[in-house]
């Protein structure tokens, strides 16, 4: 843990966002979001629903197009250039709320598909790495099953293994536990905690306050398409700067 901490503090900025703007038709979803992430940092983005936090992390790997401002990921500026986008997506892995596993492929095929076709690995190598990650997330015995035969927690762990097999530098989690039954949330959070401790750069949108408190290096609070507050977990939960943050914490902590 201590080793990982030092890595986090010495890293360069792997993500730099400057005044990112996003509209859905007339709806202004992101109103100038500026932030940066150092290598190895674990950042949790909190905020009420509709605050633009999901939209924001989805702009980082171009699942959503931003219409103003700059996003620089791993030194590459996001633009219309398809090659830039492909390069960024190779370095940025994403885990979704609805898992988004490919239902017509087995777990192993789900995981090895991208390494074989994007990284051009041999099938043997891809399967070896895939099994390594499946073991790490604790379900190597499910390799030949189809996603539909797994529980929600297992599916999400497969999705994480699928993302990790691509060996990304940055991991984006888009509410990874929101679609899970309560008893399955822990197994996914344990995996995320494990990853955070092994030095990955992580941006997570989540409602798991416990995770945010214990694992995050920094918490970003968003509301109405803007960053309201950036703070360390300790200060964020016990000594928030902004009125809006207090209101939000009040709502979620005292229900």
């Amino acid at each position: 843990m201590a080793e990982a901490k030092t890595l986090k503090t010495t890293g360069d900025n792997v993500i730099v966002c400057n005044e990112v703007q996003k509209w859905y038709g007339n709806y202004h979803a992101l109103r100038g979001v500026s932030m940066s992430v150092r290598s190895g940092e674990v950042i949790v983005i909190l905020g009420p629903s509709g605050s633009g936090k999901s939209t924001f992390i989805r702009t980082l790997n171009r699942l959503e197009e931003h219409q103003g401002g700059d996003i620089i990921v791993d030194g590459i500026t996001l633009s219309h250039d398809v090659r830039n986008i492909a390069e960024i997506r190779r370095e940025v892995g994403m885990v979704f709320q609805q898992f988004n596993l490919f239902p017509h492929l087995t777990v192993l095929e789900n995981i090895t598909l991208a390494p074989i076709h994007v990284r051009k690995w041999s099938r043997e190598r891809a399967e070896e790495v895939a099994m390594k990650w499946l073991t790490r997330v604790g379900i190597p015995e499910q390799a030949d099953k189809y996603p539909g035969q797994l529980s929600g927690g297992q599916q999400q762990r497969v999705a994480i293994a699928r993302t990790l097999t691509m060996e990304p530098k940055i991991l984006l989690f888009d509410e990874p536990t929101s679609a899970l039954d309560p008893e399955m949330i822990k197994e996914v959070l344990d995996v995320m905690r494990d990853l955070a401790n092994s030095g990955y750069t992580i941006l997570a949108v989540t409602h798991e306050m416990g995770f945010a408190r214990t694992v995050a290096d920094r918490i970003i609070f968003m509301d109405a398409g803007q960053i309201v507050e950036e703070n360390t977990p300790d200060n964020f939960f016990h000594n928030p700067k902004e009125e809006r943050t207090k209101k939000f914490l009040n709502q979620i902590l005292n229900h």
């Binding site: 790997n61 492909a86 997506r89 609805q98 988004n100 239902p103 598909l113 994007v118 189809y146 699928r162």
Partner: protein, 574 residues
């Protein structure tokens, strides 16, 4: 009512003795009647009508064909009794439960089941006597001649001509009597020979069968299946194709089953070969010349030789094989979101084009114009900006989507028969001089385009059913667009629309019989020629029954395969 109830209870009680049981049967007749019959006047009327129909029909049947009807009645009565008993005892066996669920779940259904079984029996009996008992299987209509002596009076009595006034020693009396069958074929002719002693010899020339004349089909079997490819110099090609399909089919079945070859390059090669095989087989069948390599590619005119079932199958398969990738591409094209041509390119180009054509094309058209309408038409370049505006408004400059949409809508807007006529009559006009495309190839192209347009819409429906998350997951993993569609989106989308696609292919297969109208010799056309053969004049029903059976078998096979495919591919679907 009470009396009936009493009697029924007596009967049921006596049955109770026959069948050992532990539980008591309990039946509240009032409740039973209320629940099943008397709750609605309509039901009672309906039941009465049904009972009357069944009763009168059954009694009518009993007179003509007793055994079958009696057996059915007995089975019906027995099974109804069994079901009721089981129901009363609440001790169902699998059989009685099935019958209760599927045949006898209400009083009305008890009635209907009997009526339906009797009707099916009658239909079957009718068809059986037509197709087998009374049918002729002879190669050609065999005239059998019978002579027997009769008297003048006997002839008159039997409804024949009055011979008593005829001069003696008359050899033939005309007109002879003749009986024709339903197809208009003379099956019985009678001639009378009047001897000197005024006795009559009746000569009957008869082929009396009231049923089917299967000889027409049997005699034309090879015609119907392979038409002129039964010629000895061509038939080996058909055999070669069949043997090849059999051998390669068995071999590839083993390959597909093999665990070692799973998702290997060899297997995808085999699949690709199977998919393109109709085109290869078509070329092989066309390459019917003899002699050297040069002559091998020379072609006997297939428009005259390829026909019958072989033609129908090849036509349908080729149209399917060509239309499938085309349809998928069109579906993707219609949904494509490629960056369009910006308006500041489209509008100036359209304007310049209009001006250019107004100065070059319009004057020549004006010279040739013979009416006010012609003068108006000469200014057609004015329409170019209008079209350009529509293009920008509707598709925002997306050429791919515009082309796909227009292609699909135009082809869906034309009736299939028009497509066929266009491909036969109109298409050659557009070809450069000296070019010639076989009628058959043209029809295949037309059918494929037509089918592709419908298929595109089916596939588009499948694409729309794929959740956004699948695209996003593929994107976030960095898959290229091509790989994303090939491995993630299309396999799922197409699997969703397999029933629709196979339904469409079955329709296409059956629609191939329309090429008969543009003069190609498909199965239907060959069947129609039978009616004009001297041996089988006017016989149409039997070939049509054969067609029906053949089409039914093929279509069912396709439907069965599609269900199997769905089951196989459905593994692990959510």
């Amino acid at each position: 009512m009470e009396r009936v109830q009493k009697y029924l209870n007596v009967i049921l009680n006596s049955l109770k003795v026959l069948i050992p049981q532990r539980d008591r049967m309990q039946l509240d007749w009032r409740r039973f009647l209320g629940e099943n019959i008397t709750y609605s006047g309509w039901i009672m009327a309906w039941l009465a009508i049904l009972t009357w129909i069944t009763f009168s029909y059954t009694t009518g049947q009993l007179q003509s064909a007793p055994t079958g009807t009696i057996v059915v009645l007995m089975i019906w009565g027995l099974t109804v009794a069994m079901t009721m008993l089981a129901e009363l005892q609440k001790r169902h066996t699998d059989w009685t439960l099935w019958m209760k669920g599927n045949l006898y779940n209400s009083i009305t259904n008890v009635q209907v089941s009997l009526l339906l079984v009797l009707l099916i029996l009658a239909a079957f009996r009718g068809f059986y006597s037509y197709a087998y008992t009374n049918a002729s299987f002879a190669d050609a209509v065999p005239p059998t001649e019978r002579e027997y002596e009769t008297t003048v009076e006997a002839v008159a009595e039997a409804g024949g001509p009055n011979l008593s006034r005829m001069p003696a020693n008359l050899e033939f009396v005309s007109p002879t009597e003749s009986i024709t069958n339903r197809a208009g074929v003379v099956v019985r002719e009678t001639a009378y020979i009047l001897n000197e002693d005024k006795t009559v010899v009746t000569v009957e020339n008869r082929d009396i069968h009231t049923g089917a004349t299967w000889g027409a089909v049997i005699d034309n079997f090879s015609n119907l299946l392979i038409f002129r490819y039964k010629q000895p110099n061509l038939v080996w090609r058909v055999y070669a194709v069949l043997i090849f399909i059999a051998v390669f089919g068995v071999a590839s079945t083993f390959m597909y089953r093999s665990e070692r070859l799973r998702s290997s390059r060899l297997l995808s090669g085999v699949s690709l070969f199977w998919i393109t095989s109709p085109i290869i087989i078509y070329q092989f069948l066309l390459g019917a010349g003899e002699g050297g390599a040069e002559a091998f590619f020379g072609r006997v005119s297939p428009d005259n030789t390829l026909g019958g079932f072989l033609f129908s199958v090849i036509l349908a398969l080729m149209a399917i094989v060509i239309s499938f990738p085309l349809g998928v591409l069109l579906a993707l094209g219609r949904r494509s979101e490629v960056r369009g041509i910006p308006w500041w390119i489209t509008y100036p180009v359209a304007g310049l084009g209009m001006v250019y054509l107004l100065f070059t094309n319009t004057p020549t058209l004006l010279e040739g114009a013979r009416s006010n309408f012609g003068i108006l038409l000469a200014y057609w370049p004015i329409l170019i900006p209008v079209v350009a505006y529509g293009f920008q408004r509707t598709w925002e400059g997306n050429v791919v989507a515009a082309f796909s949409t227009i292609f699909i809508e135009v082809w869906r807007g034309i009736p299939f028969i028009t497509v066929l006529f266009m491909s036969i009559i109109l298409f050659p006009i557009f070809l450069p001089e000296g070019w010639e495309v076989l009628n058959m190839t043209r029809v295949v192209a037309g059918s494929a385009m037509f089918s592709a347009a419908y298929l595109a819409e089916n596939v588009r429906g499948g694409l729309q059913a794929i959740p956004r998350g699948q695209y996003e997951a593929a994107d976030s993993l960095g898959l290229s667009n091509f790989t994303k569609y090939r491995l993630i989106i299309l396999p799922q989308a197409i699997r969703l629309v397999i029933p629709a696609i196979v339904g469409q292919f079955i329709g296409l297969f059956k629609d191939t019989s329309l090429v008969y109208l543009v003069g190609l010799f498909d199965l239907l056309a060959v069947a129609n020629t039978i009616a004009s053969q001297p041996d089988w004049l006017g016989i149409r029903t039997e070939p049509y029954i054969f067609l029906l059976a053949l089409y039914f078998v093929c279509s069912s096979a396709m439907a069965w395969y599609s269900r199997r495919l769905e089951r196989q591919l459905g593994v692990g679907q959510r």
